[in-house]
């Protein structure tokens, strides 16, 4: 098989291959599937459902905060506890069931072997097992909510989480399982990238999304066990009544915070690194220009992952740890800003002199740059010791991590979803609607979270069910933004569902991408590629050109095997 199997006609001429969606259609063929694409789709469905629930909870929070004394839960302790349960659940769902699995597990699972040119991940059965661990964890977490909602905040800070009468143990056990699901996914990805690269796919020919996924997987494997142990100790402490974290029994609450953030800060990079990988892919494709500074981007992913392990202490600046320790963590926190900045500059340099096609995925990628820049700088302000003192635990922090997690990770995920949607479903979505929603989301997002930056700087603490009247105007603005976001997301659900059933058939390469997933049909066959994929230098846009007849980009000529070297 030396010639490419690029065009659909050719593929069909060789052998009529059914795509992965059509090959078998029984329910059994889905729930026991070992196909990474189907597992990815299942992850996608579950995490989107979780995102819907988490989003609705966010709307409840925002509605409550319309008035200083609370619009929904008001009057006293029991009512406030319900509010506390709502924001706790919002946090837990969004962090552990949406952000952590969404990009790495859903898009990662689907795209990693395709971008790599492999037929599947290294351990397909382990992959399916990870998915069911994720489901089991989610079920336990939901069960704990049904039995008696947890009100500890998603951080489970001791000793409140030990005293709190809610079903913390069940919830924590659920998150423990979610953690192991994440470990196995990371393990699978590392082995896949090491061992399943096809002929010609050297390390420095890998698409940059894979470098980002690789860096993510390292964090998943090495940091997740620590939060596992932390949560396990929390359970032991609650069940056996011993003093590890509980000061009333001689334990140390700060110890819990160290352990918790040792995982949870790197976990932030589990969310943001793949997001950066997606943005990299989108920007180069829609600029129709080779990525600028491939090695710097690849290495900055690894640098972020490695430095990200060492910055957890910046969550503990105001709790009385020694000034020396504060200084070290502050220093490392600043350091992690550098590789992030490098990425932004490289993306801009990629756009320079490109042919920029402002399609929906590109708009999301550009939104990402703006929001991530704001998120990054607010992060730097929080990382500086003296300014952190007056911003710690205020809405400034809430706004900061929403800029990074939502404006960063989720916006990039949406970019990726739109970018790969034709490949995953074989259908196109409505471009005008998608652009409209992207713009609306950008405006609504800033309307929601920018006032929170201001009100935080003015002193409003986070996790308040009620607040001082002087903060109200900001809170109202924020809530209006949140409602607009809801409209945007519901519209998006509408046009995506429409696309799923009525959308135009997607061509093989609608955007002009040069990575391997665009060389197979949309949606891909179960084996991903008919024959071995041709691999050469990545991001060479001279090799594709638009064919108006089929509405798709096609490869110009079959490649001579290994001609170009960098």
């Amino acid at each position: 098989m030396s010639t490419t199997t690029a065009t659909p006609e050719m593929a069909q001429a060789v052998a009529p291959v059914k795509n992965y969606l059509k090959q078998t259609t029984t329910i059994r063929s889905w729930i026991f599937t070992l196909d990474h694409k189907r597992i990815g789709v299942m992850y996608l469905i579950v995490s989107l459902l979780a995102f819907f629930v988490g989003g609705m909870l966010a709307e409840v929070i925002r509605t409550q905060l319309l008035t200083p004394s609370g619009l929904i839960f008001h009057g006293g302790g029991a009512a406030y506890r319900q509010y506390n349960q709502v924001f706790t659940l919002h946090g837990i769902i969004m962090v552990f069931m949406v952000l952590v699995p969404m990009t790495p597990a859903a898009l990662g699972n689907f795209m990693l072997p395709l971008l790599l040119g492999a037929k599947d991940v290294a351990f397909p059965r382990l992959n399916l097992f990870s998915f069911y661990l994720y489901v089991a964890g989610a079920v336990l977490a939901i069960l704990s909510t049904v039995l008696g909602a947890v009100d500890t905040g998603w951080t489970f800070y001791a000793p409140y989480s030990i005293d709190s009468g809610s079903y913390v143990v069940l919830m924590v056990a659920g998150i423990f399982l979610l953690g192991f699901s994440s470990i196995f996914t990371g393990l699978n990805f590392i082995v896949t990238i090491h061992k399943l690269r096809p002929r010609g796919m050297t390390w420095f020919r890998m698409p940059l999304f894979l470098w980002a996924t690789y860096a993510t997987a390292i964090i998943q494997v090495a940091a997740t066990p620590v939060v596992g142990v932390t949560l396990l100790l929390l359970i032991v402490e609650r069940v056996m009544g011993i003093g590890i974290f509980n000061s009333a029994l001689g334990g140390d609450p700060v110890l819990f915070q160290h352990f918790f953030w040792f995982y949870s800060h790197p976990a932030v990079y589990i969310m943001i690194l793949p997001a950066m990988g997606i943005v990299t892919e989108i920007i180069t494709t829609f600029s129709h220009k080779t990525i600028f500074g491939y090695k710097f981007i690849a290495m900055s992913s690894l640098a972020i992952a490695l430095i990200g392990f060492l910055v957890w202490g910046h969550h503990l600046f105001v709790n009385g740890q020694s000034a020396e320790l504060d200084a070290i963590f502050s220093f490392l926190t600043f350091l992690v800003a550098v590789p992030s900045a490098v990425k932004v500059f490289n993306w801009l340099a990629t756009m320079y002199k490109g042919a920029i096609d402002l399609k929906t995925p590109m708009l999301y990628a550009l939104s990402f740059i703006v929001l991530f820049t704001i998120g990054g700088f607010t992060g730097v302000v929080l990382g500086a010791l003296s300014t952190d003192v007056v911003l710690h635990d205020t809405y400034f922090v809430v706004a900061h991590f929403h800029y990074v997690m939502f404006g960063g990770a989720i916006i990039a995920f949406l970019g990726g979803l739109h970018y790969w949607w034709p490949k995953m479903t074989g259908r196109m979505y409505s471009e005008p609607w998608a652009k409209f929603v992207c713009a609306l989301l950008f405006v609504a997002f800033n309307l929601t979270f920018f006032p929170q930056l201001v009100v935080g700087a003015h002193g409003m603490p986070r996790r308040y069910a009620t607040y001082l009247p002087e903060y109200q105007p900001y809170m109202v603005a924020s809530t209006i933004g949140a409602y607009l976001q809801m409209i945007a997301f519901l519209t998006m659900a509408g046009y995506l569902l429409h696309s799923l059933f009525r959308g135009a058939k997607a061509p093989e390469n609608p955007w002009g991408g040069t990575t391997l997933e665009w060389t197979t049909s949309s949606p891909p066959p179960t084996e991903n590629f008919i024959g071995a994929p041709e691999v050469d230098v990545p991001y060479d846009y001279s090799l594709v050109e638009y064919d108006a007849a089929i509405g798709s980009y096609i490869r110009k000529e079959p490649m001579p095997a290994v001609e170009q070297t960098h």
């Binding site: 351990f123 082995v191 142990v229 011993i242 003093g243 140390d252």
Partner: protein
Amino acid sequence: MTEDYGDTPTPAMPPDDKVLGITGNKKTPAIHIPGAGNLGMALLIVALGMLFASSLLSYLIVRLRMHLGPGAHVHLPAGLWISTVILLVSSGTIHWAMVAVRRDQEKPLKWLLATTFALGVLFLIMQTSNWLSMVTAMHRSFAALHAQADVLLPGGQIIPADRVLVQHHDLLVLFYVFTVLHGLHVLGGLIPLAVVTLRAFGGRYSRNYHPGVRYSVMYWHFLDIVWLLIFATLELTF
């Protein structure tokens, strides 16, 4: 890739650890990935290593915060030494099993694997008995401590008797957490080892193809090292 991973499938014997791409009822032929299992195993060990490292660290921090005076009334059961020896011996037997399979010595392979398995079971039994003896020791020490007065630390700080009691209790609970965690770890190794042993008796492994044996050896040695670290930590701090 020149390294011999010992997982090259013989034509007659399809690899047992990778069956790719079952969609629905259709099985596509397996693809052989040299060394994937080894790397996966190594990463699993890294993850488990982080798990044990962080739990040991948390134990040490908790232990250092305690004000237990000299001559604490809880002693580790002597049976722990016996379990340690059992585990060390089992590490030896599984190592020889690896040597045997590399030399294509089928009979020693079978029996060494079976012995390792038996030693693993024995280890778990020993640990259970150690736990039980700790339970009685706990009751005894509590009774003794009830009669005890407050503890005066060298710095002049006085720890009330009931606080000392609580700390002893905490220490014991941590002992259980550790040993149970490690016990589960051993159990997690025994089940695959049983499968590997049965397959060895079925004549599945050869000089060129023995991934199961190899993974078991990696896991088992790791198990051994973790136990030695836990045991040393407990011995030094109890």
